[in-house]
Symmetry: C2
Subunit: 109 residues, 2 copies
């Protein structure tokens, strides 16, 4: 097993509020993705919706995963004006959130 | 933005019980990683501990991310005897769990 040097994953699990339309959600996802163009330490972004069959997703509807080169990069991202502007749009649309950052240790066959 | 064809990520967020030693946790992580060798549709595995500074991790201590080629592959994994044996060891050590499966849609600069 090996730790990917310096890479930190920023995982954001979200449950959107019932009243938020899919158009609004699409716009917010595009806004999230666009942060990659605005905030230098944010290197990549991927997202998806839950397709699990175990019913252990606790109501969370969306996952967003961003990649950074360091925890310092995440700190820079968190305080960046573009991130703060986006958070002000995103959070009112959310019912609940979990944020989990980690340095992935990989095990690949 | 593009969807990685057929790839499905299986994200497992865990909070270990207070009384579980780091030796026990290490053994369980090795057991989880070893499933890659035992269960054909499980293609990759990575894990890590929370290093976030936002205090929005809701007490979760560990993340485990496995990669599959399809949702059918995850269903096969879930019912595989090696997975069931491992779950019987892992779950008694856990305080809480979230499982979230998704087909990542990537946006990379």
């Amino acid at each position: 097993m090996e730790e990917a040097k310096g890479v930190v994953k920023h995982v954001f699990l979200a449950k959107f509020k019932e009243g938020i339309s899919s158009d609004e959600i699409d716009k917010l996802i595009k806004g999230y993705a666009n942060l990659v163009n605005l905030i230098e330490p944010m290197k990549a972004f991927q997202w998806g919706t839950d397709v699990s069959i175990e019913n252990m997703h606790q109501g969370f509807t969306h996952i967003f995963e961003s990649t950074f080169e360091s925890t310092e990069g995440i700190a820079e991202y968190l305080s960046h004006p573009a991130h703060l502007d986006f958070v002000a749009l995103l959070f009112p649309a959310l019912d609940k959130v979990i944020v989990f950052d980690y340095k992935p240790i990989s095990y690949i066959v």
